[in-house]
């Protein structure tokens, strides 16, 4: 089970990243749990200063960018 965390306070880009991550996970057919981390204090614990961010099993894979679905697949596979 992959733990996918979308880091962002809820702006359109953050929501878009959550949608794209969900799409990527479904297309890969992996087992996953996706959570949206929206509290700024919790986001800061990941060491990021740019959002949106995506963490996979606790490791931040991207911050400050909206990657393509194909790139997200590589990050979460």
């Amino acid at each position: 089970m992959k733990n996918l965390q979308v880091l962002g306070t809820g702006c359109p880009k953050c929501k878009k990243l959550a949608e794209m991550t969900e799409q990527a996970a479904k297309e890969l057919g992996i087992e996953y749990e996706l959570t949206k981390v929206t509290e700024i204090s919790e986001i800061m614990t990941f060491g990021i200063m740019l959002t949106p961010g995506l963490a996979v099993d606790g490791e931040v894979k991207v911050a400050g960018k909206l990657p393509s679905v194909e790139d997200i697949k590589k990050m979460i596979a």
Partner: protein, 133 residues
């Protein structure tokens, strides 16, 4: 990043300073702080990059521009970025501006202003080829 600013609007300039244990190292730290306060960019934690903290690495990679300030030719900041496979940044070395390195922490306002100007001038141009690799 603050509660009212999610930092996803783009145009981010990240500033990394060597912040070393010398006058020139501490000038980089002071300059980075002042550039942040002036809104030129966001002062970010070089130690986190050196420590391979994934969120910090991803944040630097996700920045539109990165300014790296080293105090002296030992170039610790530059080497930390190289170890993290990060390139394509603007680069300023304090001693290249004629400021002599010493183990003296009484910083000259004139020196700080000189480095501030050099950093702003650097950011007016694309990243130098020698650090794009």
């Amino acid at each position: 990043m603050t509660k009212d600013n999610c930092c996803c609007s783009g145009g981010t300039t990240t500033i990394l300073a060597c912040s070393g244990g010398s006058n020139v190292g501490q000038i980089t730290n002071e300059v980075a702080k002042r550039l942040d306060v002036a809104g030129v960019g966001k002062f970010f934690c070089l130690a986190g990059v050196g420590g391979q903290i994934s969120g910090m690495l991803a944040s630097v990679e996700g920045s539109d521009r990165v300014l790296v300030i080293d105090g002296c030719p030992v170039a610790c900041a530059k080497k930390i970025l190289a170890a993290a496979d990060l390139d394509g940044y603007n680069y300023v070395v304090v001693t290249d501006l004629g400021i002599e390195k010493a183990h003296d922490f009484t910083l000259s306002e004139q020196d700080i202003e000189r480095v501030m100007s050099a950093c702003k001038a650097s950011l007016a141009n694309p990243p130098a080829k020698e650090v794009q690799q």
